[in-house]
């Protein structure tokens, strides 16, 4: 279970998060919606352990462990996974090599045995099929020359391989056409399970047609200003964020 309490964060003196409270139980899918600049991506980076932010107040615990004490890689080992809005291109690192390194690093950190190359290849083949990630993509340097859709599919493939228990999807729908959105959403839905929580960050309701959330939050100016069921997303789609942003202004 993820518990965020009164989280305040700033970057270079600018306060971005102003007191976030959020509890995500195992198996739940929470959507976080909000206008540009409301702090959605900052929240996802802070959860994943990016070091550019200063946490001035509050706490993040996951399964009882203080996440703020852990580095990004330790959080990944603890079960967190951030699907990046803009997956980073890493020239010179073949996608396949990267996947194997990441998986085995996590296994090693958990005291599990490393996967042999044949077992790993089998696993990747199996997981890539549904996501339409081709062997050719796996041979290319990580995300280099990938289209927007390929990058997002590769992110979900990483998620499927690493089997995190808390998935944070940061605007996974951005840059996707309808077909790609369907493939990616199906990939995400396959990973839904009673043990796995998800935080889906998005501008638009359309992603939530595919990945149906249990809870929807509206984030504005660094605070959650409204929480509701999946129908809240429809209401936002119809009326925009003006009502909620206005309250704060």
């Amino acid at each position: 279970m993820l518990e965020i309490k009164n989280l305040h964060a700033e970057v270079e003196g600018n306060q971005i998060l102003r007191g976030i409270d959020l509890t995500v139980k195992p198996g739940e899918v929470h959507a976080i919606m909000g206008p540009n600049g409301s702090g959605k991506s900052t929240l996802s980076y802070i959860l994943a352990g990016k070091e550019d932010y200063e946490i001035t107040e509050g706490s993040i615990t996951y399964n009882g462990v203080d996440m703020l004490e852990l580095s990004a890689d330790e959080r990944a080992v603890a079960g967190m996974f951030l699907a990046f809005q803009y997956p980073i291109e890493i020239p010179g690192v073949a996608t396949m090599t990267f996947l194997k390194t990441a998986l085995n690093a996590q296994r090693a950190a958990r005291g599990e045995e490393e996967l042999s190359t044949p077992d790993f290849m089998k696993l990747v083949r199996e997981k890539s099929k549904d996501l339409k990630v081709t062997p050719e993509m796996l041979r290319r340097p990580l995300n280099v020359g990938f289209s927007g859709g390929e990058k997002k599919r590769a992110e979900i493939l990483q998620m499927a391989l690493l089997e995190p228990t808390l998935c944070i999807l940061d605007e996974t729908d951005s840059g996707l056409d309808i077909d790609a959105l369907r493939i990616v959403s199906e990939g995400v839905n396959q990973l839904r399970s009673p043990e796995r929580s998800m935080i889906v960050i998005t501008h638009y309701q359309r992603l939530l047609d595919h990945i149906v959330p249990d809870v929807v939050h509206v984030l504005s100016k660094g605070k959650i200003v409204k929480t509701g069921g999946k129908e809240l997303a429809l209401e936002l789609e119809a009326n925009g964020y003006a009502d909620y942003v206005g309250e704060e202004a």
């Binding site: 990004a72 890689d73 997956p87 980073i88 890493i90 390194t101």
Partner: protein, 425 residues
Amino acid sequence: MTAQNQRVLSAAETGFVEAFAATHGKQSDGLSEARRAAMARFEAAGLPHRRIEEYHYTDLKAKLRSAIALSARAEVAAPGALGEVETQGRLVFVNGRFDAALSNVEALAGKISVSAWAEKAEAPAHDTAAFPRADALVDLNTAFVQGGATITVAGGEKLEKAVEIVHVAKGEGASFSRIDLVVEAGADVLVLESYQGDSGAYLRNTLTTLEVGDNAKLTWVKLQEEAESATHLASASANLGKGAELSQFLFDAGSGLSRSQFAVAFNGEGSNAALRGVSLLKGDSHADITLSVDHKVPECDSREYFKAIVDDKARSVFQGQILVKPDAQKTDGQMMVQSLLLSESAEVNVKPELEIFADDVQCAHGSTTGEIDEDLLFYLRARGIPEKEARKILILAFLGEVIDELDDARIGPLLTSRISNWLHV
């Protein structure tokens, strides 16, 4: 008042002058005349210092403080294999002298002729134009050369497997060796050269001349893996014939002080030289790579691609000169130097020099110096890869681009594993 005009020799300079008088002053060998002339030039000019343009960033007069004796003959165990490379034939030099017992030149018979020497009496008379400009390191080499080899690859011989040249240093002292490599027309050879030594504070001075004949191809890979306390001073020159191809790779990872200078001249049209390398520097090591490419004739391509990893208080110096003479139309000269600084005290000096006297040419140079990209690092860490390992992955990827461009399956794995080993230390 003449005293004011007289240069005061430093301890190191005096050491060389005295060592010469003791060793070569009166005795004669095949090189006597050349030795004496070279020593006279050295005595007049001294060790190069920062006011000599080519040595501005590598002030050898300041860096070589004390006199260093000439190395003695030494016996060493046979050096191990250099890596997973198929080889044929091996030349081993110990403290500058050819060691016939550790070498295997019989395997080359019929394809490559080797004439090696380790005794002064055997020293061949060398030409004086081994290097295109007056240079103290070349003069010192000529004055003191203790051993060498002339290696000639017969015309048309295409050899897949590498010829190994291993230079071993043992103990302290200065060693001087010279290799003359001739690749005759239409031949194709891979030379894998290694410089290694035990932990002594030795000095090595080498001179290499390369003749790549018409339509011949030479791949020259040099592994500079000297001991940390060693000084490595290497000069090399190459002359390329018509349609010749030179592919050079420098793995520059040893010695506290190194200077690798290489001058390439295009003498025949349609030839191609690619000089590449990686420098891996840490501690307070200082590594200087100084290149000059002389485009004398039309339609030749030169490519220089070097990357450096500079950690701790180390300093990387790169100087690259491309000279395009009036006749050298349709020249394509490209130079790229990229450095990654791993510490705030690390330093990089890059000096590109393009002198172009022809109008129909393509020449470009570029240089980048930066730190490891934090966004890349975060991405890898967010996938569970610990910071230390993530840094290694990114460094390997950064350097790997040069090896990828070299695109030679025979030596790529050896270079990659060398880099991995260095990173794990």
